[in-house]
Amino acid sequence: MSARFLVTASAAALIAAQPVLAQMATEIGAGEGQVDIVAWPGYIERGETDAAFDWVTKFEEASGCKVNVKTANTSDEMVALMNEGGFDLVTASGDASLRLIAGKRVQPVNVDLIPSWASVDDRLKDAPWHTVDGTHYGTPYMWGPNVLMYNKDAFGDTPPTSWNVVFEEMTLPDGQSNKGRVQAYDGPIHIADAAQYLMAHKPELGITSPYELNEDQYKAALDLLRGQRELVNRYWHDAFIQMDDFKNEGVVASGSWPFQVNILQSEGQPIASVVPEEGATGWADTTMMHVDAAHPNCAYMWMEHSLASNLQSDLSVWFGAVPSVPAACSDGRGMQNQEGCDANGLADFEKIRFWTTPVSNCSQGEGACVPYYRWVSDYIGVIGGR
């Protein structure tokens, strides 16, 4: 750790003496020699998968903190690992972050100890999935939209502008019906995509957030999805299976991630993506710190590193995601450039509604909204043809 960093951090700590910060760190001491992170696969690379993608070794050299990564494949796994303890940090998505805060498994983060906090996208600084009552519980890591991926051969010169190509039966520009040629995500959260479509096309339902649906709005979304079942041969679950379906199964349009779009394009497939006029749902991950983190100093250093180094830029290329630090797109700290960021969804931020877990107590009132576990059972019914 550089001396300058220490000075900045201590100075910041002096300013940050507010009562709300009582339980959080006020200064960063010497590193403890290691930091243990729970992360999504591919999120923390040290050049072992591909030598060009490494945002760990320099940090280890500079800070003396060895980075130990435990990958988790689902948000539930992440929450379970954090409940077990023994970790310092987690890259939590919007469906896990609030659960971790509510369960008191993560601690408030003193952003004044993180010099690069100022460089974070202003629209993410106070995002509701990591900021509760004005207290920050982490630093934004990466985000991305769920785009509409389509096959250019099927759509010709008229790329789709609306999600209606996956929700309503129609004839596509290549003269054939979309029946059997579109896909949808098999997770219950896809109900939110249907609700977002209804926000634009059935304003009389009065949907204000696709994650907060009352019984009537919820029923309308399910009805839309029942119609979609007629169009979908198979729902997608695994990114690589979806790519295979676009190549070998004749699928031409589906909600997807920039990850699949980038890979298919790199293989020379006639694939492109849009964020349609109704907007899109998306995901946003946050680096959060365990309440009993054994290596808080190294954890703070990693949070600074995650914002300041080549991490944001290179990870954005590696994962097809968008950096939380806009400068990482253009200042040449890594491989990403402005076109790449825009392709991954940066320009569409305003049109994206980030995933939060539906709960029954929502802005419509106590117990007014349909909670997530019912989304699960009902979406199973929809896929089963009920």
């Binding site: 295979d244 199964e249 029954s360 909670p371 089963g384």
Partner: protein, 308 residues
Amino acid sequence: MEAVRPGIAARLSDLFWRRPGALLLVLLIPPLLWLGVIYIGSLAALLVQSFFSIDEFSGLINYEFTLKTYAELLRPANFDIILRTTLMAAAVTLAAAVIAFPIAYYAARFAKGHMKALFYLGVMLPLWSSYLVKVYAWKLILAKEGILTWAVDGVGASAALNAILALPVIGGGSLSVSYIGTFLVFLYVWLPFMILPVQAALERVPANLLEASNDLGARPGQTLRHVILPLAMPGIIAGSIFTFSLTLGDYIIPQIVGSSRLFIGQAVYAHQGTAGNIPLAAAFAVVPIVIMGLYLWMAKRQGAFDAL
């Protein structure tokens, strides 16, 4: 002054010699603990969960004994899943038995030397490669633009394939997104588990019984029906327990090949976790246990285990 006392090992040895029961106890405690605590214990914990329920409004688990969660299994959407999985398991088991019997019969009765080695290699080889690799390979084989469609086109039989895919319920857009595809992959993946026990059972059928049957004037068909099949039945039942229970519990194949309609294993997976509906997940997990229990009970009543 000090008397020479035997070491701890020698004293233990004396104890075990005097009391053989103590040795048995010491040897059995670890496996019994394993079976009792880890195996039965976790099953019991699962069973207990299924008698709780989830609160309709808050989504929190209500830790009071109730059968409400089991009643939920009877809701159409959930009952569909149980019915679908059971029918698939039954179809896979029947087809596996029908295909496995002639193969196993040939291997047990006629294959010698190199052919026998080739048989074992042929049956076991698929088990050597990763399960996932096999399933992904089948996805490619069955795809709409895959090799099977291409081959069927090549021999001019695409009308027949389309007719099969046009069948209600089991048909679909392509083999890879229909129940037929799921069935084929299940059949392929579990077939060795049927062939091997049937072959073992057939090898134990004494040749002189077949000769006696022949001498007494039985036609080959009668010998098969009245001598070979009853003696091979334990093998077929053993194989069917494998194929039936493996299909009941699998949650990966129907996710990769098929129409996305859920099977029991996938339903369990979907209800735990973020959904937090552990009671319903547990109730779903109990279903295969009950079905297998019934299945074994019926097999026993049919005398399938008498020959064991």
